[in-house]
Symmetry: C6
Subunit: 203 residues, 6 copies
């Protein structure tokens, strides 16, 4: 796959995992900021999100707004711009709390400028204090991740026991990382913060 073609090739996009009637699926959470001075403000949520998933987005946003210093991100950029969270495909209704970690990761990626690692997918509810709470469909989600070429999957620590029900073959080539706090998710999923470019000295 051409790196430029990857969905996560720009900051603000994180790879999640969902369960549909037809098994597991990969989904992308896209976060975007308007430029300042365009009249945009507040939060826009699109992608035919249900009530629970909209609340997940509010929780992700409040988490970020309350932990800017700790996360070293510029939350003040949220004050004079509009922030938009979208989950394609646009016509497919989606619901549930399990995209919480993905939404938080997309927002922190956007505000920090750190891209999300393309080989990492994740699933987990997030509480307002950053706890990662258990979700359903671990097996289907792992299958979907593997089919999509993902090599690392972050799951809630409290779902670790579900791995016993996953056939050996599925886990081959997959690194599954149980996480208890969204800070661990961010550490594992985001590329390092950009450094100042090295100067090439030509003597």
């Amino acid at each position: 796959q051409d790196p430029e073609e990857r969905r996560t090739s720009v900051p603000g996009v994180a790879t999640g995992l969902a369960v549909t009637g037809a098994g597991g699926d990969v989904l992308f959470v896209e976060a975007a900021l308007s430029e300042p001075g365009t009249g945009a403000q507040g939060v826009t949520l699109t992608g035919q999100l249900g009530d629970v998933m909209k609340e997940s987005a509010q929780i992700a946003l409040s988490y970020v707004r309350g932990h800017g210093k700790e996360l070293r991100i510029s939350t003040e950029r949220l004050a004079d711009r509009g922030v938009h969270l979208h989950v394609p495909a646009g016509a497919v209704p989606k619901d549930g709390p399990s995209a919480g970690v993905t939404m938080t990761t997309a927002l922190v990626s956007l505000l920090s400028g750190r891209k999300v690692r393309p080989e990492v997918a994740m699933t987990g509810e997030v509480s307002l204090t950053g706890r990662v709470l258990p979700i359903g469909g671990v097996k289907q989600k792992l299958l979907a991740a593997k089919a999509a070429g993902i090599t690392t999957v972050l799951i809630p620590q409290r779902n670790e026991a579900d791995l016993d029900d996953v056939p050996e073959g599925v886990l081959d080539g997959l690194t599954v990382r149980p996480v208890a706090d969204v800070r661990e998710v961010l550490e594992l999923a985001l590329t390092p913060a950009a450094k100042a470019p090295e100067k090439v000295l030509v003597a």
Copy 2:
């Protein structure tokens, strides 16, 4: 349990008690403030709260906003920040007035920086003047508290008679404190205000 793993290990989280179709349960009310200057404002309520429970949150917030001086908390922090109350799990609908004391305690904990004692759980409706009004399901709630390792449970004074119906064994090892005013709840549930750290003099 590792103290760091406790839900109440940060200010803003209080332990409540609920009755579900399947008996009693422990629930956590999480309160969070955004940092100033992030564009957040007003109140966000999540956790699939029903009408009555949303009103409980409004009552808790008004109580706090009207008693800041008396409670020695900085309610002016509510003016330029968003406040968010969340009750996990995100996908489980919840309703009823009995989390009023828990919501009030979570808010006062958040604004005072005083953590909630991890061994204390509570249940009770709160009126706008701080009265603790009676609730249902005392027996199931005590059972759930005990199962969760709670040792002190605050119940409304007007529910004291309900203790007669609770088997002796349940009350063993549980301290049940009837309360009539939310000020008593705060006194019993919150850890003392932090003092300036003692200086260690090395002579």
Copy 3:
């Protein structure tokens, strides 16, 4: 009853009378103001109030906002604070216009600092000009007031004829005061404005 335990022991609480499926009942209307500078504004109504009862609250508030000078209350405190009207119990749906006098009294009590007399209960619709309009359930309301230890009940003048249907025994020990204007209600229900404390001269 310990005076401190009385619901009306703080300004902002007035005793009303309601009719339920099971007869009459006493209800309390609680009014509260946030402290200035907490970001609260506007009006919050809680207690599972129906459409008609919410309109009663709006009428009570407009009445107060239009008659501040005459009532000698500081309505400008409503400008930079939130005002909240609550009617416990939080989970019980309530409706109807007959709490209009009680809501008006609670608001004037709050803004004037004058407590409501604990022995007085009241019922009556209020129009925007302060007229007290007739209500239903006079007999049941008087019974409920008496059972609650109330000794003075204010009813609309246009309900005076309903007293003929009330058994003699019920009226024994009850002072029923028919009123035509909410100003009469306020005069009868509120304690006098606090005066500067008398100085004790020791010569």
Copy 4:
């Protein structure tokens, strides 16, 4: 009737006529302004008004806001205060456009300080340009007006033919004035503007 007891004894109250399932009825439209600086703003409509009647109130208000100079009323008082229109009784649902003239009259009475003549009742839809449009139930409304002691009734000019169906006896003692423009309504229904009180010279 004691003049002080009349509903129209204060500016802002006008007498309308309605048709109910049980015949005609007199209704009062009450308009009130908050004092400046109480935080009130915008328009509040109460009295369980239906969609059409709420639109009548908006039309009345827009008419007044667009014709302040011509009507010599201080519409700028509407800018920093809340205006409230209420139609008792609070629990009775009401709908229809025929209170348009009554609402306009109540508003102009309020803003001009000119009381509405107690012997005048009125019915008619108002268009945004002040046209008085025809309504239904002329006969029942006249009967209700007469029963209430009204002596002058204003009806839409386009309803004049309906008078043929009204029994002679009903019209005895009633002055019916057909009107085509709401300016005529105001001229007939409002008392003259107050003049400066005459000085009594004592020489």
Copy 5:
């Protein structure tokens, strides 16, 4: 008809044509501005308008707001005043896009002070760029216009073929003008801009 009695005798009123269950009908669109400083702002739509017709009003308003210079109208008057569009009769539900030209004409008449010619009626949907799009019921609308004494009817150019189905007799005495752009509508329907009154010189 007395010119003063005409609905279009003031700027802001335009004559439209509708189809009802009972054939065609003439309708009037009334536009009004509040005086500055009355606290009114935004747009008010009344007349029991359905979703599609409310969108027509928004399109008409956006068209006017985007073409003020070209139309030589003072759109800045919309900034500090409320604008209100009403379509009598108030209790009759109305819907559909065909009043678009009429709403645009009423707004331009209001803002330019140019009255609408009383002998002109119109029908046509308007797009956001001012295109006049086809509508239904041409025959019934022409019949209604003729019955109301209208002599010029503006119809969408794309409805020109519908005139073949209209009996000869109906078109006698009617000038039907097909139009493709709302600018043509305005040119045909509005009276010329007022000039400075001629001075009468008396030598």
Copy 6:
């Protein structure tokens, strides 16, 4: 066709393709800005758009607000004016995500002043990062485009395989351009930016 008659003869109009119960159809997305200082603000969406299509409009707008610099358009014009997106015909309900590219193109055309090429139509969902996602009804849309005189159709790259099902004859005379990013759409659909007019030197 007279160039002046073309729907795309002004900036802000783009040609889309839809599928209806009766086959494919051409639709036009119209974007308009109010002049500054008319009191308009925010976004207005009309054309009886369904939930998914309204979200498409929000995505298009956020994309534009986040990429103004890159697209060399003056997004700050969105701050003090209202923006309106309309899709005629006004009474026809529309839904689905496939007008995303068309809405984005109409907005960029409006803000850049670059007209949309009249011979180009387009279809495709857009994600918040500008990805063009696949849609349905390629065959019907191409038929509709051809019938409308369109010679170039832009489709999502991920729909390229659908071209195999399109009869040869349909593709004759049609240039079909698969696109993966909305930037390609803009490059292919918009006319070049206007340059300063060449000066004609007469020596």
